[in-house]
Symmetry: D2
Subunit: 334 residues, 4 copies
Amino acid sequence: MTGIALFGAGTIGHVHARNIAAHPGCELKYVVDKDIGRAEALCRAHGGQAAADIETALKDKAVDAVVVASSTSAHYAHLSAVIAAGKPVLCEKPIADDLGDAKRCADAAAAAGLVAATAFNRRYDASYLAVHDRIRAGEIGKVEMIHIISRTQAPTPAPESVRLSGGMLREKGSHHYDLAAWLSGAEPVEIFAAGDCLVDPGFAEYGDLDTAALTLRLDSGALVTFSFSRRTAFGYEEMIEVFGSEGMLEAGRQRRLSVALYKQDSVIEAGLHAGWYERFGPTYRAELDAFLAAAQGRGAAYANLADGLRAQAVAEAAIRSVREKRMVPIERIW
Amino acid sequence: MTGIALFGAGTIGHVHARNIAAHPGCELKYVVDKDIGRAEALCRAHGGQAAADIETALKDKAVDAVVVASSTSAHYAHLSAVIAAGKPVLCEKPIADDLGDAKRCADAAAAAGLVAATAFNRRYDASYLAVHDRIRAGEIGKVEMIHIISRTQAPTPAPESVRLSGGMLREKGSHHYDLAAWLSGAEPVEIFAAGDCLVDPGFAEYGDLDTAALTLRLDSGALVTFSFSRRTAFGYEEMIEVFGSEGMLEAGRQRRLSVALYKQDSVIEAGLHAGWYERFGPTYRAELDAFLAAAQGRGAAYANLADGLRAQAVAEAAIRSVREKRMVPIERIW
Amino acid sequence: MTGIALFGAGTIGHVHARNIAAHPGCELKYVVDKDIGRAEALCRAHGGQAAADIETALKDKAVDAVVVASSTSAHYAHLSAVIAAGKPVLCEKPIADDLGDAKRCADAAAAAGLVAATAFNRRYDASYLAVHDRIRAGEIGKVEMIHIISRTQAPTPAPESVRLSGGMLREKGSHHYDLAAWLSGAEPVEIFAAGDCLVDPGFAEYGDLDTAALTLRLDSGALVTFSFSRRTAFGYEEMIEVFGSEGMLEAGRQRRLSVALYKQDSVIEAGLHAGWYERFGPTYRAELDAFLAAAQGRGAAYANLADGLRAQAVAEAAIRSVREKRMVPIERIW
Amino acid sequence: MTGIALFGAGTIGHVHARNIAAHPGCELKYVVDKDIGRAEALCRAHGGQAAADIETALKDKAVDAVVVASSTSAHYAHLSAVIAAGKPVLCEKPIADDLGDAKRCADAAAAAGLVAATAFNRRYDASYLAVHDRIRAGEIGKVEMIHIISRTQAPTPAPESVRLSGGMLREKGSHHYDLAAWLSGAEPVEIFAAGDCLVDPGFAEYGDLDTAALTLRLDSGALVTFSFSRRTAFGYEEMIEVFGSEGMLEAGRQRRLSVALYKQDSVIEAGLHAGWYERFGPTYRAELDAFLAAAQGRGAAYANLADGLRAQAVAEAAIRSVREKRMVPIERIW
């Protein structure tokens, strides 16, 4: 039974708390949040002890591992402390606001030989994982092109929240830069990004985009294209196609239901999931499961902090590319 | 260049005339119809000589083969005469109104060693043919169940025309009884049929049905179910599933276009073909092609008159089953 | 918090125990099984008190409701006792081995005004439920034909277990007779069934079938066809199509994953769920949820004992039809 | 009956000759080719008079319209002569090797008020046309992103033929730049292109690519991405998705057949068309039909020479972008 401290009692903290409480192999020991009321509310629902600071939890021998889901601005302090305490950690992305801080964390965890995971939950989606494993098994030969679509159902977060989230090319993008590298087994080399505010000009006021198309070149020569939007009129849309020399693997858009209506000149099928959580909820459980296995030395694969650092480096180059309208090299800092 | 005489200038006669005229390997020599005006109109569009009776055409040495597409009541006389004249013949189904007459034709053609084909055009559909060939290749092991749906888009023919067509279990059914036997390579043994007039009570006045469900047992033990209707609210619907001990092959409903609209909570795809001809038009060309190849001794597979006779025998048993509400044995007359 | 006693600690008992333990609105108070070791094992995993007989549980005021998942031969005694005790009950089907006993239970529950549910879990499948609701909303007009396929992935239960299960037309069939009546809102009138042992002749020794095709007529005039098999070479297969005067609704075969491989001349998609539980696991949670809501007077829809009785009456007529090779009227005892 | 002269008896000339001969509204009067033997062979099969030069045909009053399908290097001379002769013309793309020559042709045709069409056959694909019309009808609101995939089944043309074809970004690309502008109703503004020779390094020797990803910005603000490859392991692949503010329209990959095999853990469906002609053959007939209608003053929509010029301008900018690794503005010369 792995004792877990959860840092952060916000939206994503709720998801982790629920999954930790329901998992047969671990126990929620602490929920830490500056807003102690939020921490207490989570503990009432899922157990554990509420705290306003991380020290008690880090000192408690019953805490075997930590999940960092605090606000991004707190990540560096929290993550550094957990690594210093020598406890396995699962950290929401980005690792840190600043690329140098993120690298310091990744290096420290690597030096310590710690299980330090970045929460790239999409790697645990059953369909994405199958695509990954089948690429490795050689079913499509050499990967030549990847196309990833990710479009959020509603214009959230609102423009005002952009300052905190870091913007679409960081927040949404980093998941997908990671998928591209993980699926292909190749490293990012250079990136081009173009974008606009077609959904809501409000995003421009915060220096952000709501619509973007990106082209990433990997060191294998493969080209990866990304289509991002902050709004669809038809639910949460995500899809991956990996084109190889001997075939193509596709993890297609998923439907809410298996229902079709044949009527007049159409066949009307059930549409996509309403939102992000309906589509990817199960991946958080699988992610926790893989993290626990790794923390317990049972050798599960997971995204480490260097993977998180890599995705951040791609994001920064992409943002620069939008401004400079050219292909931007990605420095290999991970 | 095979010279062809076409008997019958009605709806299906038009289809044949157009295909004969466009085929590079044959030439339309005669169109015969009691209504000489109809024959002349077809000849104006597609060539050939119009005639009100079949004698001239049958005596003409330039006529190498005959397509019988006259009204069912004339089939027996026309088909007998063509067989007596020793010319290869492609005959629309049913072979004859009367089962005894149909058998006489089948026997005569067999005795003469003539290429005498029943116009089961669906056997030439590219998808149905692929299913047939893959069953023969052993891809699904032993056939255990077949399900065939055939539903016409509009309540045609109108109740008034039923007298001529022989009713749904004969007219529509015979195509599909043939498909079941052809796909499975097994012979019909007994049949159960239930039906009703749910679309239009007018069909009942003519002793016909517009909705029916049938269960046919083949001599291999396989069970075949048929779902028929004279009307859909969504175009022409046809579909075949063949379930075997080692897999299932499906020739699915075909769509008009490859277009989908993602909107709100639905994905709205293009629906089925508007009608029978939009779905099966190409099969008439392929059927003619196979008939010409066979007539020219190039050995193509085709449905012969015995196959047509078999389908008629199944139809008669099905009609009796509706009345008697029991499984009816099918006498092996073919 | 509804206190629940579970009768029966076999396969399906395990499913119920797990769901009861995980549900936030109820608590597992007792697990009763003649084999006290099985009951104790379930209690260790999911809580509650083990017992070898039902009396203690029925007398305990903390038991607000009962789930009957014992062996079919014990159903009548268990169900009668729960009804006599006036506790809401969710009973696995069949209600009782004997049709008369089943009717006595249904009548007693109705007379007592008790929430007494038959465990037709498929009614709670999200796709089936959507089809049901959309038929009610008039999207396809008047229901004219229904086609239901249910084929189990592996020849289980083995022939030897048939004696206990009652055979395919009862065990598998009753779920689907219920779906037909529930979806259409119409009552069964007469049925025809044909079947064989094509998978394993061993089933014949126990008087059972492994392959069957059925045609059911409803009092609305609609015709329902069923295709059943005890074995597929491609996972658990289930599908429903409801054809109406104004359209068709389909709850299609569900796939394991959303993955496709384009290679050579094929597109290879992920196949069906491996088995019954992978496909219908979530319906047991939804069923429990609906039962609790009904038991607590929150008015959820559920299948009552009369619905269970109806399905059994259809099954008995179907079995007789196989022997007599004719349409068999279904006596309206529910 | 429109009399037609066909210039060019190569591969695409064959396609046009066959369609002209079969069309009820026109007649093949001349086939012109420097290689008179090729011209004669086409005339033997499809009628018309063979000629080695274009003068006779252009002077003949029986020639009402011209189809230019000669080699690209001859386009400018041929097209200029036809325009000077004042005859409606359908010209294969590119209009001319040189952008200035192409502009001269477009300007001359516009000044003369001639029906002068560029052979963008994909505009006549039934599914693409439906997407176009439904965008115009407002079904998806404002177009924000378009994604177009076009991948040829086999590494043809071989590297050696690149010199003649102009390379992938011109030859394949121009069709799709045109589709993007036509579907969106917006004009190209700037383009980024990245590519490589991942299939065959031989293409690099001729300064060409076999794999490319492009991002085009339209003057509406919409972003269009293109994925091109010269080889797939699974047939001819083409697909369009148009994402708008109120929905998404998709013209999906088309399958050879409607056949699926359910086996083990997969559903194996029929794959894509074997090649370009199997997929787009029917569009050449529809294109001819639209051209004839326009030439006869029946007002059909068609791509004019300015549209062809536009696609060429995009292609040149794309080629420059590959070299310069930056977004390249597209000069508005059309």
